[in-house]
């Protein structure tokens, strides 16, 4: 029989202090029964002798000091899992919101997970074809990677995430990805977009969604990604599925974390975010990967909106230090009407070298990738210079590079929202673009590949 306490001493924001407690354990789950019988949940954040500090998972609205009854459950927060999760929609705290029946769990798993032994990891090296040239061609995604999209307010990151969820496949395998989707503080329209899009393509049956909307309790956002990943780990490592996890918007998650930290009066780090935010974020992002001897995998694609498009803001900054690369979106390209508006130069996939090359994509992939990058970087530089000096001051070769940059954006970056390019198509476009350059400029591709793949019309130099 669990003891009940009515000795709530203090409630401030998401933090509640209970006194006169005996036997409370750090991190254990707490149930609070309101006067009307409604149950709220929280967890122990600190115990000091008979005083327990509890972080609420749900809104504090309606809690009072006198009548609230608190029970310490002696276990950490868990998620009941079974294959019935597939096809269902839950709120940010794991309650069904699709009108379906509650899940009968096959087992219960603690949502904080345990750290994966680095020795047990299997290195991600299987190419995922997303059908998007910038990703496949230049910033290749591999199975088990965590690759975030750094976006800004008003940019089409949701469309891109949905397109990836729709098109992602591993070449030569029939099996499609299962999607576990976690929404933190996004609007109803955004959530609806994902649900509708997944339903339209029939992918909803292979998907699990946890949705915390903008008007849902802020504090639930701390739990949501952990539910998502617990669900994903179950599907990947116990049900052998390849899972794509989409988390949006991590900025809202970090804000919630800051709120709890501020309520606890902790010493703030940069911009008021707690000093342990790096560690906290890593316990989310590091739950991606493959395990030796297991068939399934978890590939993570978190989305975050950078406040004021500032990549040095702590949220994108700490994320970038944990994830295996990042994809930036550019407001400028978006304004030019280019979809997907990837800001190619700072984009990076750290694991790309393991996922490309003969047998995976094609032998010339690495060279083409480096050459395209270098040429586009130079083209962008020239374009900036031309803006100051005027085009007339450019040398002939510089003019070719500037033209290259324009064409690269128009043909390589730009594609349709429903256009699913194969990697071969992507590389072909790459070679066509490279054929604009004089052959002597192609220093980063091996000569044998130039012979083999460069379109022959390239013999005549392109008029600048």
């Amino acid at each position: 029989m669990l003891k009940e306490y009515t000795s709530v001493a203090e409630i401030a924001g998401p933090i509640m202090v209970v006194e006169g407690v005996s036997g409370a354990k750090y991190d254990e789950l707490v149930e609070i029964e309101l006067a009307g019988g409604e149950i709220r949940r929280g967890r122990v954040l600190e115990v000091d002798r008979d005083r327990a500090v509890v972080q609420l998972f749900e809104s504090a609205q309606g809690l009072d000091l006198r009548q609230s009854r608190v029970r310490f459950l002696g276990k950490v927060m868990e998620l009941g899992v079974s294959e019935d999760l597939l096809g269902r929609v839950f709120d940010g705290a794991g309650r069904p919101i699709d009108g379906g029946p509650p899940i009968i769990p096959e087992k219960k798993l603690p949502i904080s997970g345990e750290p994966l032994n680095p020795y047990s990891r299997d290195y991600p090296n299987e190419f995922i074809q997303t059908g998007i040239s910038v990703i496949d061609g230049l910033n290749t995604l591999v199975r088990g990677q965590k690759l975030p999209i750094f976006s800004g307010a008003g940019l089409p990151h949701n469309q891109i995430a949905a397109q990836i969820a729709r098109q992602a496949k591993v070449l030569g395998e029939a099996e499609e990805f299962s999607v576990v989707f976690g929404a933190m503080g996004i609007t109803f329209e955004e959530a609806n977009f994902f649900i509708t899009d997944l339903r339209k393509t029939g992918a909803l049956e292979r998907a699990v969604m946890f949705i915390n909307l903008a008007d849902d309790p802020v504090i639930e956002r701390i739990t949501t990604p952990r539910l998502v990943l617990t669900c994903a780990e179950y599907l990947a490592f116990e049900r052998d599925m390849h899972v794509l996890v989409i988390l949006t918007d991590m900025t809202n998650y970090a804000e919630a974390l800051r709120e709890v930290s501020a309520a606890r009066k902790e010493v703030p780090g940069r911009r008021g975010y707690p000093g342990y935010m790096y560690t906290d974020l890593s316990t989310i992002y590091e739950r991606a990967g493959r395990i030796k001897g297991k068939k399934g995998s978890i590939t993570q694609m978190p989305i975050l909106t950078m406040p004021q498009d500032d990549k040095t803001h702590p949220i994108p900054d700490l994320t970038g230090y944990i994830t295996e690369g990042q994809l930036f979106l550019s407001r400028e390209l978006h304004r030019k009407g280019i979809y997907p508006p990837f800001d190619v130069l700072p984009c990076l996939s750290r694991l790309k070298d393991k996922g490309i090359g003969p047998g995976k994509t094609r032998e010339d992939h690495a060279g083409v990738l480096n050459q395209l990058y270098a040429a586009y970087a130079r083209g962008v530089d020239v374009r900036e210079m031309a803006a100051i000096l005027g085009e007339a001051a450019l040398s002939k070769i510089d003019r070719i590079y500037m033209k290259f940059a324009d064409e690269f954006e128009r043909r390589f970056i730009q594609q349709g929202e429903y256009e699913d390019r194969t990697i071969i198509q992507t590389l072909t476009i790459g070679w066509e673009l490279l054929s604009m350059l004089p052959r002597g400029e192609l220093k980063r591709v091996r000569d044998e590949f130039i012979e083999k793949y460069l379109p022959k019309k390239a013999e005549e130099p392109v008029a600048a």
Partner: protein, 595 residues
């Protein structure tokens, strides 16, 4: 030992009362699962303990038991090729017993207790031995001879010494000291991680740690026994540089500490190193490597300990007389772990929430590097080089961890994300980076590589500096407005950047360049510059020089295998000379016609 009780739990910090005989930095066992913790504050009857494992489920009243010993590592045969967590628990053994996830309270001996090692004594019964004396050897891997030493603090007469096969716990020798006490010597010794291992004296550095990375060896070399830091924003290639150094640095032993970084990166090292060959011996690199992996999602207190665990193991191999290199990736995560613990202790914060003692902790760490005369007989010199990555938030180098590090280290490899965006790797910025060893090492390069080395290095640095100045002008008036000689300088600087400094870690041949090849590559670029200058003086058009086809051969020289380089070098040199002579001859003929 007295058994205390927990009174408070807040994250990785536990406060206990009743630990009456606890000392600072003693290891304690916390709770029923006996989690490993360390005493970090004593206040009256209360002891604050940082716990090296997840503390969920602990509460007031749970027992805390002192061990009376500081946090120590086990040192002996079996270290090489191992992968440990931050407090030296072997991750391979943990996987075997507990599966893919690291459960709480797991325990496993750092050194395999069952393995037998063949011990060959090098001293005999009756010899007088002192601390640090080598008394025998164990062939640990094909690359490493593990020397068994008398632990610091013990000296006397050797009463007995055995040879044969032993486990690390079996006695191999007996020493009777001046007081008549007998000490059992085993293959294994223990040492507290927060205490530097002793040596006889420190020496200045005179020899470079050759890394095969051109930008490092040529422009910003690090000495054996030196210290370096690699700060850079994310995506600028810190980890790749650290991996490259771990692979190619010409040290006898490599200790790689993955401190609060990505799990997949450690896996990469684990899978790649056994496949890679040591360029000198052809043996797998793993046979000289020790890995410490405390990834970002593993407990934060163990991350704080991981760099100490790493450097203590490194010191132990240094004491054998080896040249050891330690890479820590990343020291910022270590500092953040300190900050987190400090915050939980409610200490008064210094800059940006870091504890006020951040600077002294960083100093203590880097001070453990150096070239030394080891303790004991036979007399031997050894070195421990320390290279720390720093991950400054937002790439801002004014933050406390970078600033405190820069005060101590002598080499600064500043990474630049702008170079990385351009795919110029390694993205070490040649204008902001520096090496204070360059002068000390100059005699070595001059004698061992070639007398021109230092001159070429200065010339390269100068041209890169001039390039930066000229670029400013180009941005204002365009490149065509420059004088031909300035344009030549720009072209040569570009060649230095693209053909020399840029180096692909993923290309089989380009990944490592010997000092000899580096010198020859420099000579080629310099020769082009000299010939170009002469040609310009004779009135040859700059465009003709820029368009010379031989330049492409210079650009691709880095992809020529070491063994074939000399032949190719002569050929390219010949073509270069001929090209310029032709240009100048044409010019001469033309000039004659005009007159």
């Amino acid at each position: 030992m007295a058994i205390g009780r927990i009174v408070k739990v807040a994250g990785p910090l536990v406060v206990a009362e009743g630990l009456t005989d606890a000392k600072m930095y003693d290891v304690v066992r916390v709770g029923k699962e006996r989690l490993v913790g360390e005493v970090i504050v004593l206040d009256g009857d209360l002891a604050s303990i940082q716990v090296y494992e997840e503390t969920a489920g602990l509460g007031p009243g749970d027992p805390v038991e002192g061990t009376g010993e500081p946090l120590s590592v086990e040192l002996g045969p079996g270290l090489i090729g191992s992968i440990y967590d931050g407090i030296q628990r072997p991750l391979e053994a943990i996987e075997k017993r507990w599966g893919a996830y690291i459960r709480r309270g797991v325990e496993a001996a750092a050194l395999n207790r069952a393995a037998k090692w063949r011990f060959t004594p090098t001293v005999k019964k009756g010899d007088t031995v002192g601390e640090g004396d080598i008394i025998g050897t164990v062939q640990e891997t094909t690359l490493v001879v593990h020397k068994i030493m008398i632990p610091p603090g013990i000296s006397g007469t050797l009463e007995e010494i055995r040879s044969g096969e032993f486990t690390v716990e079996e006695t191999i020798a007996l020493v009777r000291d001046a007081q008549g006490r007998r000490h059992e010597i085993k293959l294994m010794q223990r040492w507290p991680v927060r205490k530097a291992r002793p040596y006889k004296e420190k020496l200045p550095s005179t020899e470079p740690l050759i890394t095969g990375q051109r930008v490092i060896d040529t422009l910003f070399p690090i000495a054996k026994g030196g210290t370096a830091c690699v700060p850079g924003p994310f995506g600028s290639g810190k980890t790749v540089i650290q991996h490259q150094l771990a692979k190619w640095a010409d040290a006898d032993i490599i200790v790689f500490v993955g401190c609060g970084e990505r799990g997949n990166e450690m896996t990469d090292v684990l899978m790649e190193f056994p496949e890679l060959e040591d360029p000198k011996t052809g043996e797998p690199l793993m046979k000289r490597t020790i890995l410490i992996a405390n990834t970002s999602n593993m407990p934060v207190a163990a991350r704080e300990a991981s760099v100490y665990t790493g450097i203590t193991i490194a010191e132990y191999f240094r004491d054998m007389g080896y040249s050891v290199a330690l890479m820590a990736d990343s020291t910022s995560r270590w500092a953040e772990a300190m900050r987190e613990i400090s915050g939980r202790l409610e200490e008064m914060p210094g800059e940006e929430g870091y504890p006020a003692y951040l600077g002294s902790r960083i100093a203590d760490f880097y001070a453990r590097a150096g070239r030394v005369v080891c303790l004991g007989k036979p007399e031997r010199q050894a070195s421990l080089s320390a290279i720390g990555a720093v991950s400054p938030p937002g790439g801002d180098l004014s933050e406390p961890v970078t600033q405190n590090t820069l005060r101590l280290v002598k080499v600064f490899w500043g990474l630049d994300d702008k170079l990385a965006y351009r795919r110029h790797f390694p993205a070490i910025n040649w204008l902001t980076s520096y090496s204070l060893y360059a002068e000390d090492l100059a005699p070595y390069f001059e004698q061992k590589v070639g007398p021109e080395w230092n001159e070429l290095r200065r010339e390269f640095m100068k041209l890169l500096q001039i390039e930066a100045e000229l670029e400013e002008i180009v941005r204002l008036v365009g490149v065509e407005a420059l004088s031909p000689s300035d344009r030549l300088k720009l072209e040569v600087a570009r060649s230095i950047r693209e053909d020399y400094l840029m180096q692909s870690a993923f290309d089989e041949i380009d990944t490592y360049t010997s000092l000899k090849k580096q010198l020859k590559m420099m000579q080629l670029i310099k020769a082009f510059y000299d010939w170009g200058t002469r040609a310009l003086e004779q009135g040859v058009d700059i465009h003709q020089i820029i368009d010379l086809p031989v330049r492409e051969r210079i650009a691709k020289a880095k992809f020529i295998p070491e063994g074939e380089f000399d032949a190719h070098f002569a050929e390219i040199f010949k073509e270069l000379t001929e090209s310029f002579e032709r240009l100048m001859a044409q010019k001469g003929a033309y000039a004659e016609r005009v007159h």
